[in-house]
Amino acid sequence: MNLTMVVNGSSHELDVAPHSLLLDVLRDSLDLKGAKRSCDTQVCGACTVLVDGQAVSACTYLAVEADGCSLLTVEGLADGEALDPLQRAFLDAGAVQCGFCTSGMLLTARALLRENAAPSREDILHYLRGSLCRCTGYRKIVEAIMTAARTTR
């Protein structure tokens, strides 16, 4: 099936099978390895990408569903060498340890800030349910998102 989508600002036309998962198309056809396959059951958030601004689990999402959509992966967050305020805040707060969850955390936070420019700590924790980090204990991730929200406002 034909699939036309804009990924990180670049338009792509692909021929994919109906059973192709978005995660495999991004990683294998477009060589974007930021989204990770981890739990493969929509529980952990490591494969999170944004489709028209909404967070989805690319591991359990048919690629053909993204036809005509605009996608953002972690590779598209920075503007050239200039980091996104969320990336800057994650670095400054020490919100990255092993880094495996980071791309999903950043994109989930981006979706949250798009909906709610001034989230409370509780709003952030609610939104991050299903985004698992086994290193940081979440505290610094939440701090980083609050900082990024303040700098972007």
């Binding site: 099936m1 059973h19 967070a55 989805v56 359990t60 299903g130």
Partner: protein, 303 residues
């Protein structure tokens, strides 16, 4: 990895049902895929054909009337944020906000949730207290079933192979109803979900409980209304509720049919039913009075 399949994208319910009738058990209706694709990845289901129902006109609509009609492909996220749902069935919106995680809510649909018939479904449990009915369409026409008739058991519904779940209809509670949905657990899916709704008839100390509704999910083969527990509080004066909540909680614990599993032993689940029925009742009574309890319970979400 998914096994190959053919994806059909009909634009009318008639075309979708005709496909289902022709393909029979080789086809599975598909919407958000949040449940179906997981089972297909595990190889537990291997349908050679998926019939995408998201393009069918009307399936994504929410419509007001005497009852609130929610189309089958309305996502949890839409339910959570719909001004109409918030106005007519506010607890439905706030329970939808706590289903799974935001990625599942963005994609997963109300119809998919009900048709999958997971005994742990938050929505199915809550909907039982809203006298929910489901509308099924097929080449033979339409029929309406109560949600209790539709969900037959774990992952089993009354849907025939050529039928599609088109919508669910809810009867909003009368003004003055106080309600709460409390879910408890530490796993991805809840260990227990309890919905309690009731009104207080009359003023001040003479106010009596009326129209109590109690539904319990996760701890029986399917979510169930518990009339035995409702009967213990109906007609009881608010001031005397403390005397009957123990009996109400016991009636609820005796009515459920739990199994030993990863969520805990059957005995433990019965005990938790008794504990959380009491808690949900307290929150619902406070809300019927227009107040909000500041109670928070470990490992539990109060919606």
């Amino acid at each position: 990895m998914l096994r190959p399949f053919t994806l059909h994208r009909p634009e009318t319910a008639e075309d979708a049902c005709a496909l289902l009738a022709t393909l029979g058990e080789d086809a599975a209706p598909y919407a958000g895929g949040t449940e179906l694709l997981l089972l297909m990845k595990l190889g537990l289901l291997r349908p050679p054909h998926l019939v995408d129902v998201k393009r069918i006109a009307g399936f994504g609509d929410i419509a007001d009337g005497t009852r609130l009609t929610i189309g089958a492909t309305v996502t949890h996220r839409t339910l959570e944020r719909s001004p109409l749902v918030r106005a007519r069935c506010p607890l439905v919106a706030s329970v939808a906000r706590h289903v799974a995680n935001v990625r599942v809510r963005n994609v997963g649909t109300v119809g998919g949730n009900l048709a999958f018939a997971d005994p742990h479904s938050d929505l199915a449990t809550l909907f039982l207290t809203l006298d929910a009915t489901v509308e099924l369409v097929s080449p033979r026409g339409r029929r309406e079933l109560s949600l209790a008739e539709f969900v037959r058991g774990p992952w089993e519904t009354a849907r025939r192979p050529d039928e599609l779940l088109a919508s669910v209809r809810l009867s909003p509670w009368p003004t003055g109803t106080g309600a709460a949905y409390v879910k408890f657990g530490v796993h991805e899916r809840p260990t227990l979900g309890i919905a309690v709704a009731l009104r207080l008839d009359g003023a001040g100390e003479r106010a009596r409980v009326a129209d109590a509704r109690v539904a319990i999910g996760c701890v029986s083969p399917r979510p169930m209304r518990v009339e035995a527990a409702e009967a213990r509080v109906n007609g009881v004066a608010e001031a005397e509720l403390g005397d009957v909540t123990g009996a109400m909680a016991d009636a609820a614990a005796e009515s459920v049919d739990p199994a030993d599993d990863l969520h805990g032993s059957a005995e433990y689940k019965r005990e938790m039913v008794a504990v959380f029925v009491r808690r949900a009742l307290r929150v619902a009574v406070a809300r019927a009075r227009g107040a909000e309890l500041s109670a928070s319970f470990p490992h539990a979400v109060v919606a």
